[in-house]
């Protein structure tokens, strides 16, 4: 096996000619950038989804300060967890950073955890939340931020204890104790410790309506998620005839992803997987007509609008297109299920 050599050691190896030759060889090959890409189309605004399920997690993680102040867990003394916590539109259960100049730049949430990223110029502040059972492992991990490993400096965040560590003079993180079955991590980069501490005091609780209002126009709420999936499938259906092979229901295609790239990958991937499966089955069965139809639909992937939208931001479309090319060449792509996440 090759040694686990460092990049620095590699840089000192006598590879100069090979390195220079490779550069020139590559630059003599044709490029693909002439193919129309999204830069030539009006780019749809990035859509970040905050699914309903995720919103309820937000609700669960940080039931408002008023609720905490009244004893929180419902009087039985036990950690009531997510399900028994008060929910509702008027509960001040979302956490936001409320400081001048800071805006939401990105959001992610799944069923258990999530993250909101705020930016101000080049500075950044992340509010992440996780289920209680991950608290110990995260704290242990962060203890190793410093050498030798140590507990963080005690700080108070939203009226509860937290530990703070410094990755550097301008990069700090704090983990807040578990409350209501959830805990937060708050990471600030770009500002010094005083600036970071000031931001910790600028966190506050809001209700659903205020939370939604604070999201920029590029965010859509969870209620729009199924419409987004429909829109993606409609776009594919415009060029893929039929949209899905017999036996695969459109309603079976779903995703709980919270950003549009990942959502697009799962939805487009599900369609591609269905047709690749169809092609593989037809080939195995020697059914030439079925195989040709599957190949025809996969060829249309070049024109699936969702892949075009995604193309500038990642390589998932390339993977689908490469598999489609292999099908057109008469080959069942090896390992496609793993490559596309068909077995997710």
């Amino acid at each position: 096996m090759n040694p686990k050599i460092t990049d620095e050691a590699l840089a000192d190896l006598p590879l100069h000619h090979g390195r220079a030759d490779l550069l020139e060889e590559i630059m003599r090959t044709p490029t693909l950038d002439d193919r129309p890409i999204r830069a030539e189309r009006p780019r749809r605004r990035t859509t970040w989804l905050v699914p309903v399920a995720a919103a309820s997690v937000v609700a669960a993680l940080a039931v408002g300060s008023a609720w905490w102040a009244t004893g929180g867990s419902g009087g039985d003394g036990a950690d009531s967890g997510v399900a028994s916590q008060p929910t509702g539109a008027d509960v001040r259960d979302r956490v936001v950073l409320d400081a001048p100049g800071w805006v939401v730049a990105a959001a992610y949430a799944d069923g258990q955890s999530g993250e909101m990223t705020y930016e101000k110029g080049r500075d950044r502040f992340d509010v992440s939340w996780y289920p209680a059972d991950q608290y110990d492992s995260y704290v242990e991990d962060r203890r190793h931020v410093v050498e030798p490993p140590a507990d963080g400096e005690p700080v108070t965040v939203l009226e509860l204890g937290a530990q703070m560590w410094a990755y550097s003079a301008t990069d700090h993180t704090a983990i807040r104790e578990v409350e209501g079955g959830r805990w937060f991590e708050l990471r600030g980069s770009g500002m010094d410790e005083a600036g970071y501490r000031a931001l910790l005091t600028s966190l506050r609780f809001v209700d659903q309506a205020e939370f939604d209002a604070l999201l920029p126009g590029s965010f859509v709420t969870g209620s729009e998620r199924s419409a987004t999936i429909d829109e993606i499938l409609d776009g594919i259906a415009d060029v893929a005839h039929p949209l899905l092979p017999a036996g695969v229901a459109r309603s079976s295609i779903d995703s709980d992803q919270s950003d549009d790239y990942q959502l697009g990958a799962e939805v487009a991937g599900a369609v591609a997987c269905a047709w690749l499966d169809e092609y593989a089955d037809a080939t195995r069965a020697g059914d030439e007509r079925r195989a040709q139809r599957a190949a025809g639909v996969l060829t249309s992937a070049q024109d699936w609008p969702v892949l075009d939208d995604m193309n500038a931001r990642g390589d998932y479309p390339e993977v689908i297109w490469e598999y489609a090319d292999q099908v057109v060449a008469g080959k069942v792509p090896e390992g496609y299920a793993g490559g596309l996440g068909c077995d997710r």
Partner: protein, 185 residues
């Protein structure tokens, strides 16, 4: 226009060649495979230069490409190109002489091999490439929320096996131009 394109690619190649080759060398058994993965990775970057993210996001993007190229190689799809013949020869001659300056000790390598493939990959990106969870997420096409606990668990398992917690040794993050800071897909 094409001069600007050429210049951009030359700069990208100069800045990231060692990192991409290192990524490939550390994950392949044969030097020729490492050279091939490097050649194919930069070929993708050349052909899709308009899509390569700028600044600190470039390197995780390249690692992501290299990872897919490597997976193709492992599936038997070797040498889509015939580029880099000289690099193959030079690397084959030079690499066996390197016995120190490795990113981790042999006992760590042995312990890592006892982890699941998924844990291994996350740890390798952390320990060998010195990546933060958000960068690892970028390389793997996952979200940070998924990667962080995975890395944390993988480190804990490695700690259990080793009795200590290896940091990226022999690796100097300062040579990585400000890796980090990207969250989305």
């Amino acid at each position: 226009m094409s001069d600007g394109r050429d210049e951009s690619f030359r700069r990208l190649y100069a800045e990231h060649f060692d990192a991409v080759l290192g990524f490939a060398v550390r994950r392949t058994d044969r030097t020729e495979d490492a050279a091939d993965v490097t050649a194919d990775t930069f070929l993708v970057a050349w052909r899709r230069l308009a899509h390569v993210p700028a600044g600190v996001e470039t390197r995780p993007w390249l690692y992501g490409v290299a990872r897919r190229v490597l997976a193709n190689h492992r599936r038997g799809d070797r040498r889509r190109t015939h580029l880099g013949q000289r690099l193959r020869r030079e690397l084959a001659a030079a690499l066996p002489d390197v016995s120190d300056e490795v990113v981790q000790r042999a006992d760590v390598t042995a312990a890592m091999q006892r982890l699941s493939a998924r844990d291994q990959e996350v740890l390798e990106l952390h320990l060998w490439e010195g990546l933060e969870p958000r960068e690892i997420a970028e390389v793997l096409g996952l979200t940070t929320v998924v990667v962080r606990p995975r890395l944390s668990r993988a480190r804990a398992r490695l700690r259990d096996l080793l009795g200590n917690d290896p940091e990226p040794p022999g690796h100097h993050p300062s040579r990585h131009p400000q890796l980090a800071r990207k969250e989305q897909p």
